[in-house]
Symmetry: C2
DNA sequence: TCGTCATATGACTCTATAGTCACATTGTAA
DNA sequence: TTACAATGTGACTATAGAGTCATATGACGA
């Protein structure tokens, strides 16, 4: 957690530091992200940085936390707004939402994604220990409720299925990224098709509606 | 690619260097893996290392390549041996195979996995540009053939579905890892149950057999 | 035995990092 | 205006990394 001095800073300065840090992590990944570069770009002294944060891990942890909160709030709102919808329609709303979030917060989602996947053990604990757990829990509850209402078949291993759902959501994003599709320039129709395919897959699997 | 001098080395020395390097990458990830530590542990001089390899990236690229080849050979054999089986049975064989490979080559698969997920752009090119592509292609062909034989529904976007399949396979492994289940100590029954769940999911999706 | 060529060596250079600290500046309250 | 605490500063330390290079070793053919 940042120190009090950081939160005493004018909002504008706080945001500038966080934005620049986010950009740095986005461009270089956690390991290669450089505090020296961050303070230089942000136009603050090295010493000041260490008056705001404990260190690199503290800074990153905070950015990750903010990102997770944003994402969770976003998803929860969608969930609320569509709580009356049948499962698969709600799922559609959520999938579209996760893409929309990514479109609106490209660096934020990329950094989280990137670090969910960091090979560094420490980082895995910071992020994977949180982001994936949160996503899995979210999905687990989601699945449990749907199963209770008989909207989906009773799932044998709900923890695993929830995790699979997390992975698939990510996979969707990864796929788009691998296609070198510029998120911001991607039209809604392409999004819709992707989501449609995904939904059919989730709903009927590979065998298809009988 | 390693230099000729590396391949001129006695097999035992080659293996020792590669094993120790693999261990280093496994323990520290690419970024933090240290050439200095590797040469120290392997009992060779820094200079010698640079007579064998162009540098760190070269070393890692080679290890990754060997790992991919092993994995591909393994999967191809399974594919061959079960080529007469119906799609979903073959899928079962492949999924079990990927877990078995992981069980037999824990470090190898962990390193590949870890780096498929590295946040570092260079690494993503080395690995993701290869491993994931290879896995996706493999799955794409696999799906195309099954679709041609009407064993699965015609897939709208085969590239994406192939990628989703890649992700799910990984997800299975990730899940096991996250449960802190010691791969080597895991009994075959637990494996079977995991695979069973996965297969139902792939086959029927969440809606279940109608 | 000698000469030569591939290979082995490790001290060294160069670069970059995270983090520190003695001192400077600023804002505010008396 | 003064005093004092909070905040800002950047040169500096300590550390560690990748990669180099002049020199040493050893194997092998003549």
């Amino acid at each position: 957690m940042p120190k009090e001095t950081f939160f005493n800073l004018p909002q504008e300065k706080q945001h500038r530091i966080l934005d620049i840090s986010l950009e740095e992590f986005y461009n270089h990944g956690y390991e290669k992200a450089s505090i020296s570069r961050i303070v230089e770009t942000a136009g603050i002294a090295k010493g000041s940085f260490y008056q705001y944060f404990e260190g690199k891990e503290d800074l990153f942890g905070f950015i990750a936390q903010v990102a997770r909160e944003k994402q969770l709030v976003y998803a929860s709102k969608l969930l609320e707004s569509g709580s009356d919808l049948p499962f698969f329609q709600l799922l559609e709303v959520l999938l579209k939402g996760s893409l929309a979030f990514m479109k609106e917060n490209p660096r934020l989602s990329a950094v989280i994604e990137g670090f969910m996947k960091s090979s560094d053990a420490t980082l895995k604990e910071i992020i994977m220990g949180e982001s994936i757990k949160i996503s899995d829990q979210f999905n687990q509850q989601f699945l449990a409720e749907a199963a209770a209402k008989n909207e989906i078949r009773p799932v044998l291993n709900i923890a695993f299925t929830a995790h699979a759902l997390t992975s698939l959501s990510q996979s969707m994003v990864e796929y788009l990224r691998s296609q070198n599709i510029e998120m911001s320039s991607m039209d809604d129709q392409a999004f819709d098709e992707m989501v449609k395919e995904m939904l059919i897959f989730l709903k009927y699997g590979l065998s298809g509606p009988v």
